[in-house]
């Protein structure tokens, strides 16, 4: 430990990682000095997870390299990264519920007597040692199943210390914590830093990042935009860098002011996320025909839950959703769609498309029973083929054959297939969540034109995006979402980067 201190304990040099046509990391550079807390911020899909996987040795870059102690290294496996002192705490904890805290701590590295029997006394002594090092006290005999979530988090961190990690990657560690626990966690991070350990703090909660980090790297669309010191920047500047500059799109003309009956009325809605945590609401929001309502917010503030609820996929606790005055809160997803609600999912590989199925199959999915595509339970293959070809041509989708899997297409063309499918249903409402994520510039402009054309034809659009430029250039009204609640609403004519930025950060519109 007396070797001269390196300048970079862990970092990246021009890391590129592609998945088929999608570039997840497009030349990322960053450097974290030893004994510092280095934050990495960026929206969903910005490329953070891919970078972390590479730093952990789970994935390998196509180009560029990982830097450890100022030297380029090739990490071939997670065990390799671990041997070099890198450990990670995932968002989803990797703990065994049925075992005690102590047993979880020593799992896979158990101190043993001769003959393979676990040396419990030594284990406990070790546990106390790492706990003292971190300045925490735990009830080691408690089962993980009975431990509150912040204790589990601390246990995950102690486990890395027990195993001798001195670079700790914490992936959204505060996502599940209450404010006081967040302060405790940041205190723990500072103590570890004081001991000379290096912490990579992945987050999109800018308050915490500004509070805890020594330096901050902003990642957007697979690139490291900049690295700044907290003293040199502000939350507003960071959020602006995370979402990008607004660009002028000449095509968009503000629609006539809305009037009359909302086509979609969301009233005091409360919803949970996939893990059952309350994320959204109560919120009240009306959507009128012929308008685009943009939902601006930093990732994780309830957008996903809002989109899911409006598309008929939500875990709804309270409140109501009405379409044309009719209560559809508890209706099945199929009813939402039959009533004319179309959905472009932010998770294109998950529920937006079936990547391994053919283009044709993705096009008719959910409409396979419609008279246009089947008769008496039999698919009308010729009609399907013709219908798909016409729709895909209209959207200028570039594809080889109709039977090719969708995953063979580029991100932009994949999204066009999803749009073709949704528009084929002649919807009246479009829920567009991150509609241009992973799409190239030309594709973005095209998709934007489609959304605007839908609006101009009288459709109502709920646009949910982390890209501020997208929100600003398309929306007729902009609604800020923070902590699952609406922070304010701006008319298109009043919207500016600064004002929307404030809405995104939970400050009331001025």
């Amino acid at each position: 430990m007396s070797a001269p201190a390196s300048r970079t304990r862990i970092g990246a040099r021009a890391i590129v990682r592609r998945f088929g046509p999608v570039i997840a990391n497009d030349g990322i550079d960053f450097a974290a000095a030893p004994g510092t807390i280095h934050a990495i911020v960026g929206g969903n899909g910005a490329g953070k997870s891919t970078l972390m996987r590479i730093l952990q040795g789970v994935d390998r870059p196509d180009d560029g390299s990982v830097i450890l102690d100022d030297r380029e290294v090739r990490l071939t496996a997670p065990a390799d990264a671990f041997a070099r002192g890198i450990g990670m705490v995932h968002q989803e904890f990797m703990l065994v519920d049925e075992l005690t805290l102590l047993e979880n701590l020593i799992l896979a590295r158990e101190p043993v007597h001769a003959g393979g029997v676990i040396d419990r006394r030594k284990a406990l002594a070790e546990a106390e040692r790492v706990a003292a090092m971190a300045g925490v006290t735990l009830d080691w005999q408690m089962r993980v199943a009975d431990a509150p979530v912040h204790i589990r988090q601390i246990l995950e961190i102690l486990r890395l210390l027990y195993r001798g990690a001195d670079v700790l990657i914490l992936d959204e560690p505060t996502a599940v914590l209450a404010p006081t626990q967040v302060r405790e966690l940041i205190g723990l991070m500072r103590r570890l830093k004081a001991e000379g350990r290096t912490i990579l703090f992945i987050s999109h909660k800018l308050d915490e990042v500004m509070n805890a980090a020594d330096s901050i790297t902003v990642i957007r669309r697979g690139r490291a935009i900049t690295t700044v010191l907290p003293g040199e920047t502000s939350k507003a500047k960071l959020s602006e860098m995370m979402v990008g500059e607004p660009v002028e799109l000449p095509l968009v003309h503000p629609a006539a002011p809305h009037a009359g009956v909302p086509v979609l009325a969301i009233d005091t809605l409360v919803a949970r996320d996939g893990r059952g945590l309350p994320r959204l609401g109560p919120i009240t929001l009306n959507l009128y025909p012929g308008e685009i309502v943009g939902i601006a917010g930093v990732a994780g503030n309830g957008q996903d839950e809002l989109a899911a609820a409006a598309a008929g996929l939500g875990e709804i606790d309270a409140g109501s959703i009405r379409m044309d005055g009719r209560d559809i809160t508890r209706a099945r997803t199929g009813s939402f769609r039959d009533l004319g609600i179309a959905y472009l999912s932010a998770d294109r590989a998950g529920d937006g498309l079936c990547l391994s199925a053919s283009i044709r199959d993705n096009f008719i999915a959910g409409s396979e029973h419609a008279p246009a595509f089947s008769k008496s339970g039999l698919l009308r293959l010729r009609a399907i083929h013709e219908g798909a070809r016409r729709a895909l041509d209209t959207l200028s989708v570039r594809y080889g054959a109709m039977g090719d899997p969708v995953k063979s297409l580029s991100g932009g063309n994949q999204q066009r297939v999803a749009i073709a499918r949704e528009f084929e249903r002649k919807p009246r409402i479009l829920i567009a969540a991150q509609p241009t994520r992973g799409v190239d510039i030309a594709g973005i402009a095209f998709i934007h034109r489609q959304i605007v054309a839908f609006r101009d034809a009288g459709g109502a659009v709920l646009l949910i995006s982390e890209e501020l430029d997208e929100i600003l250039s398309l929306s007729d009204r902009i609604v800020g979402l923070y902590g699952g609640r609406i922070t304010g609403e701006l008319d298109r004519s009043d919207a500016s980067v600064e004002r929307v930025g404030r809405l995104m950060l939970g400050e009331k519109a001025a």
């Binding site: 997803t333 529920d351 079936c354 959910g366 339970g377 698919l379």
Partner: protein
Amino acid sequence: MIRAALANLAAAALPFVLALAIGAIVLAVTGHDPLSVYALMASEAFGGTRRIAATLTATTPLLLTGLATAIAFRAGVFNVGVEGCFYLGGLAAATLGFWLVGWPAIAIIPVALLAGALIGGAWMVAPATLKVRLGVDEVVTTLMLNFIAVNLTSWLVNGPLLARGSANSATPAIEKTAELPRLLPPSTLHLGFIISLALVILYGFWDRFTVTGFRSRLVGLNARFCRAVGIDVPSLLFRMMILSGLIGGLAGAIHALGLVHRFVAGFSPGYGFTGIAVALLGRNSALGMILAALVFGALASSGATIQLFSDVPIEIVEVLQGTVMIFAVAKLGLLLRDRRGLA
């Protein structure tokens, strides 16, 4: 299209080729000439009408247990309970076959087959309900139900349904009219082969050309996606599990009426499990499963006679069968991983 078909065929043939290679090593080590043993097996399985008929007879139950398995697998449901349905379907059909004395063939055969199918379908109601309502893993429930089915039928044929004066655990023989007609007497090949083959071909058509076939394949590929486009996933999974059970039960009923002509304890030498290998080897496709069932049928029929004509023990054939299954089931690992990835 053709290239994809060839690639599929190669992938399906690979486990078989690997198994033959390993079998050759085992044969060589035990002092046999692999080539001459394989030649003998081939001629035992396919040399002449009678032997082909025997192979097709052995293929018959595997066609339907493979089909039953594939219908569940392609929807992403890992139903391993076809064996239990096979037992119950066999018992139901055999029981009606000897109860309905004096019924003409045209009535007794359809009724007995239908009863076998229905009990197989009913057997799947519990695991299907548990899966779609409570998310209980169907691998566990259907596997456990197999033990119940095997032991329940075994108890019935040792007690209430035991043939009078019989020491064996068997029902009385079914009525002559309940027996499925033989196709090539004196061979045991029976009408059940035609029924099974027709159902597998019908499945191939269903797979490609029907709305339900389309939905069930898509649900198997990505259930979350299907939910998002409005497909009622739980209802579809439920129906596919029941359909799988119906066909598993029918397989047992056909076996009882076509070949065994009664129900006996130990009715199936694992047809339900070989069906899993058939579905995996055949990649859930109609043609692939027909070929895979034929392979296992040939191994079974040649194995029965090969030890009569050579000093090769029947165990060698069982080693071959087991090896093909291991390589086929190696795919199961991949499929399972995909499924967990989705959850």
